[in-house]
Homo-oligomer: 316 residues x 2
């Protein structure tokens, strides 16, 4: 029996979140086609509300809650795109949100979350401290935890990006998407293979945070001990739930080095004139790496987000 | 009798260039709507081939030439987007191109032109030296000069962007476009007013290169003595031809300061996640400046290009 949400749950998620998220465009690029040898279809979640795909899952999870439960609010302990997405979706539903942010998080991320009206709770930078801060809020308020990926409602929400991608691009040979905790990649795989059973799903991961690669190789859930990568959205490790889905469905994982991530990000900025964050550059780097021969193939690429601190360009 | 190309010439230009240029998207932005009070429709010529609208005019001019004339090649003395566009269009028609580039031009611009296969001729940085270098090539080769704006075929080509904008956006109250030599703005005005006679056209100009503003005020063609603006595409001065068109058709010119240009550029990068060059930020700055009350208005904005040297971000 297949793990994770089924296509009916993805269909429901799509209907539920439609009023609150954008249908983002699918872009082409002659330059990137040349660089990869393939025909690439870029699903531009960098243009999404809050600047990443995370709003899809957060909206689906938060709008799935019954009135009574919802009114007590929601909690998460992600300081990145998921934190901002939970804050945004909670504001849209007029319920309180608490976001646990480690004391060393960049000011720009803290501000994005606060701007969306969530209450920020500062913790030590360890996972332990973040989890216990979240637990304290849950106990005190009766709020609901919105996990960034270990949740079928989140996975079903993230999957909706791939449904739109395939509607626009038609038949695809591959989809490349980044992998961190595996929520986006799991949703991508379930949605794509429900619509086109022979499509191959390629997870793309920084070599410096390669827990998914190692987990699929060993057959056991492995963790990242360090995750010192510029792809700041890809530092988490798989959960049992997402590991089970990916074991069933993934074609392979391609690892990319830091220099490949930066070069791919620059190529997209320069040639496509769109701003993507380093995590989005990971599948682009994988597609142009030559590690998989894509000549003449039709390949979907999920550009997961566009949140980059531009101070370096504008304040220097 | 109206000056410049008529709508029939614009229609022909569109047909002529259609196989060689992109139909660029028209984007919306909730953030920029809030900042301006208007409903903004951004015509994204930053996504255009060669990274700017200039390819439209250059393609129309070059593909208008008869076989015999064309085979002798084309010359221009613009080191910026027009130079790259002429190089690209000439390569497409398999004819030689010479581009006069002043010795102090940035290496990145020189490389873009050379990558498109044009021959680069280096001159001193004065207009005099550039013009005499171009004349020498014309005399020697029998090639045709492709002027960046003082040419009805160029104006008709640039006008095609506005035809597409209006097809997508529908009825508009205003169109904001940048003004430099006036080719884009003239084409914008003719196309827009042919389709929607009551539409108002607003030229947007850096205060540090305000020749068009002064010319329209005095009624005489004024020149920029200096043009020390970050908007490197907007340093040229009007020609008699474009001045005549703009006198007939322009609602007004809005001047913006350097700090407004940079802030508008950053806002577009951060919120819309697209890369625009400083010249494109000039009409955005004008629209959010409050100098014209746009509350509830439907406003088209021509984002003219996206060619920015990203070394500052990636090499630091």
């Amino acid at each position: 029996m297949a793990s994770g949400p089924d296509f009916e749950q993805i269909r429901q998620a799509r209907e539920r979140i439609a009023p609150y998220v954008y249908r983002t465009p699918v872009l082409r690029s002659a330059s990137l086609d040349r660089a990869s040898g393939a025909r690439l279809f870029f699903k531009c979640e960098n243009f999404q509300r809050t600047g990443s795909f995370k709003i899809r899952g957060a909206t689906n999870a938060i709008y799935s809650l019954g009135e009574g439960i919802a009114s007590r609010g929601v909690v998460t302990h992600s300081s990145g795109n998921h934190g901002a997405a939970v804050a945004y979706a909670a504001r849209g539903r007029h319920i309180p949100a608490w976001v646990v942010v480690p004391e060393n998080a960049p000011e720009i991320k803290r501000r994005a979350i606060a701007d969306f009206g969530a209450e920020i709770v500062t913790s030590k930078p360890t996972l332990d401290s973040r989890e216990s801060a979240a637990r304290e809020i849950l106990d005190r308020t009766g709020a609901t935890l919105i996990h960034p990926y270990d949740d079928d409602r989140i996975i079903a929400g993230q999957a909706t990006a791939t449904v739109e991608l395939i509607e626009e691009a038609g038949e695809l040979d591959y989809i490349f998407a980044p992998v961190s905790g595996g929520g986006l990649l799991s949703g991508t795989a379930i949605a794509a293979q429900s619509l086109q059973p022979r499509i191959r799903i390629v997870g793309c991961e920084p070599a410096r945070a390669d827990d998914a690669f190692r987990s699929l190789k060993s057959g056991h859930l492995e963790k990242n001990v360090t995750a010192d990568t510029i792809a700041d959205g890809l530092r988490a490790s798989l959960a049992e739930r997402t590991f089970a889905i990916l074991r069933e469905r993934l074609d392979r994982i391609i690892l990319v080095e830091e220099s490949e991530i930066i070069a791919a990000m620059r190529l997209v900025w320069e040639r496509m004139k769109i701003i993507i964050e380093p995590s989005s550059a990971v599948p682009v780097a994988a597609a142009i790496s030559g590690k998989l021969d894509l000549s003449g193939r039709r390949v979907g690429i999920v550009l997961s987000g566009g949140n980059v601190d531009l101070a370096r360009f504008f304040d220097s």
